[in-house]
Every structure is written in structure tokens, then in C-alpha cells.
Amino acid sequence: MNTPISTEEFHHVHAAHCENGVTTALLRHHGLDFMTEPLAFGMGSGLFYIQIPFMTINNGPAISFRTMPGAIFKRTCKSLGVEVSRSKFRDPVKAEAFLNQKIKEGVPVGCQVGVFHLSYFPKEYRFHFNAHNLIVYGREENQYLISDPIMEDVTSLSAEELSRVRFAQGALAPKGHIYFPEKVGVITDDLIRKGIVRGIKRNIRDMISIPGNFAGVNGIRYTSNNIRKWRDKLGLKKASLYLGQIVRMQEEIGTGGGGFRFLYGAFLEEAAAYLQDDRLIGISEEFTKSGDMWRASAIQMAGVYKGRLTEQESFDDIADRLLEIRAVEKEAFTKLSKLNLGK
């Protein structure tokens, strides 16, 4: 057991978002050298917005700027005809045995983990958040070799440390979730183009046609309406904390809302090259604009949680900004839908 085992020539990928990074690195490892983070994100229709009504997470509003955990990997692989294997476990011992087997076979694997016990994370970041993803690509004695996409470089975890984060508890508990591409077929340029178009269409549907008023672009309006009421309803202190939570969901690593808009802009730029369609470049600009607006609104929200802005008009101003962002994103997706891609 003491001979170092590592999967052959695994290349670490540094990414803006963990799941994109895992998807990109695993697919590249299987020979899909063209894969980039924006492409994985776009094919997986990663852009989203939702505020789940009446629910709070870490004592703040439950907001997400991305699609469901796991969806990006699943959709991107499916689009490219890559077969995926995934397993969950009840028993940590079995989960570890399965992982060891894969490492022995030389297969790097994606693992879903919780960050609360993730020892290399700075303490300030260790909340009970269970949808972080990393790659295990080898083992040296008792240390597993870890490629965490949010990091510039690779790291390692002991068997105990890894088992603990793979069996974190709470919402979205990973239950040892392990996944990897099983079989890769022939990838033609045509398949890539189809995957891109499919990803864009699904994203249009998720953002502008989804029913209900709290998801997609309408979700942004839902949050905007909430923000207007928070100061009276919750009091200034709690309302400021809620805005702080939005900014964390928006700008922090792995969840980034503003950042995700830039990522989508980068995807459309790549898509324009693949599809040889310059109209996409123009729409890419609109997502850049939306990303900039999200960041500007974060600065405004910071004014409140730093205690500089305390009046209702500041809350109204933030709410208005969100409505403007909604309009920009709605316009951008509507334009995308009118391109009639793939026809």
C-alpha cells in the first residue's frame, strides 16, 4: 500500500467554479482537450437564478445563482455522449473501498464534499455547505491527492479527512457521492455544436419560460420585491444581514452571480467561434453588462451591511437595480431565443 499510486498524468484545472472545474478536468483527462470551463458551464446550462420562498439558509434568504448541483456535469457529459458512472453510499468503509479501487485502476474521480470539515479551507469559509466538488487523482501512503478546482495548485487530504467531508451531513448531504466519465465515444465538431445549441436553448427555457415567480429572470424580481419590504419587516439589522447573504451567494467562490454572468459571456464568445455566428458576440456583451450591474449592486448592498446606508430609499435603490438587471437578462435571453440556433 505504500507505493504511491496516482492516475497517469492528471492535469489540475483552476476554475472559477468547482463543478465546472471538475467537469473540465475530468473530460480533458479522457481526451476531450477542447473542453474549457466556459464551454462546460454553457453546455450544462449553468446560469440560473432562484430564491426559494419561505426558506432560509444559514439564517438568510435561500438564493442561488446557478443551476442544481450536479446538473452541469451531467448535462455536459450527456450532450457529448459521454457515459457517466455515479455512486452514493451508506457505509463510509464501502465508499472508501470503491474510491481506492478506482484510484488503483488509474481513474481520477469527482467527489461531492461538505466544506465544514474541509481542513485546507480557511476557517472563515467553513460553513455547512455540502455541494462542493473536488477530484481525487491518486494516493500516497495515507494521503489522497486532491485537485480542488478553486485552488491554484493541488493539495492532499488524509483518509480520515476525506471520509469526513464525503459524509458531511445536513442539506444536500453528499453521502459519499462519487462520479466519473465511464465511456467516451467519438466527439465530432458537429456534436460539440449541437451540445452548445442544446445548452443555450435549455438555459433560455430555465431563465425565461420557467413557471412560477421565484425562478429564472422573474426570480430576480421576486428578490427585488422582498428587499423593498425587508427593512420594515425584519428590522435594519436583520435586513442588512440578508443583503450580506445575497452578496456572499453572489460573489463568493463557487456560487458567484456576477462572476457567472461573465462566465456565460465568455461561453457565448466561444460559442460564436464554434457556430461561426457573430450575433452571439453582441449578446455576450449584454451578459458582461449584467455581470457588471450585479457587482455594482453588491457595492450598494455593502453600503447597507457596513452601516453606511440605513434609509428605506437605499433598499429601494437596490431593489430598482435588481429590476434593471432582470430587464437586461430577460432581453439577452429573448434575443438568444430569436436567433433560431440550430435551424
Binding site: H14, G244, G259, F262, A266, E269, G291, A298, Y305
Partner: protein, 132 residues
């Protein structure tokens, strides 16, 4: 966001890594760049921790006043709620809520306390002797 506008204001994460961001270069094309952090989100994280510390302090007072059992304090200290604690201990939420009452807590068996202690990364003794 333009490349030159990318903030480089170190926060807690910069102890571990720089963050990869997608920015516009001089030619108006997207490329990646590394950021050390941004004060706006550092402050959001700071305000979340001020809130956490307030809650822990409230919990400590509640234990000291005999209103809550030590489990309540350590639950807050571990940033948990009843749902998360239920996951780590295997107890149903209904029972955990009972165990938060000092009168119920004092009669808990060591086997049960052991499960809580393990969830909180402390010893049974530390859990028992905590007085707030």
C-alpha cells in the same frame, strides 16, 4: 469587467489561493485573471461572522441562565441548526429539541452524550461541565 478593474484586496481566501475570474482584455475579448479578493465580499463574510458570534454569545448566556442545555451552545458554536445536528447524531429533530432543555439534558445517558460530543468534536466531559 475589465482586466484592470479586477480587485486585488486580500481576504481570508487569499491565505489559500487566488481566485480565477473571467475578465475582458484590451481587445474586448474574455480571458482569465487571478484575483486576491474583493473588500465588498470580505465585508459580507465579516458581517456573517459577527452574526454567528452574536448567536454563540446569546447561546452561552442562555446556558448560564439555565434556559438551555450545553447542546444548544455547542450547536451554535458549530454553526449547526437542529437539522444538521440531526444528520450528525442520528437523533430525530424532535428529540434534539427536547435535549436542548436542561431538565432533559441532565438525565441523558453517556451513550447519547457521546454522539453529541462526536458531532461537536469535543469530549463528553467538556459537554457535561459546560456552564456557560
Amino acid at each position: 469587467m475589465k482586466k484592470e478593474d479586477l480587485p486585488q484586496e486580500p481576504g481570508a481566501l487569499s491565505r489559500l489561493t487566488r481566485e480565477l475570474c473571467y475578465v475582458k482584455n484590451e481587445e474586448g475579448k474574455y480571458e482569465t485573471a487571478l484575483s486576491k479578493g474583493w473588500d465588498i465580499k470580505k465585508e459580507a463574510l465579516d458581517s456573517a461572522w459577527i452574526e454567528v458570534n452574536d448567536r454563540v454569545e446569546e447561546a452561552r448566556k442562555a446556558v448560564a441562565a439555565g434556559e438551555k442545555s450545553p447542546i444548544y451552545y455547542f450547536m451554535e458554536l458549530s454553526l449547526m441548526d437542529v437539522g444538521v445536528l440531526s444528520g450528525y447524531t442520528g437523533f430525530f429533530s424532535f428529540f434534539i429539541k427536547r435535549h436542548l432543555r436542561p431538565s432533559v439534558f441532565k438525565n441523558l445517558s453517556d451513550v447519547k452524550l457521546e454522539k453529541y460530543a462526536r458531532a461537536f468534536d469535543i469530549t463528553v466531559e467538556e459537554l457535561k461541565i459546560f456552564k456557560g
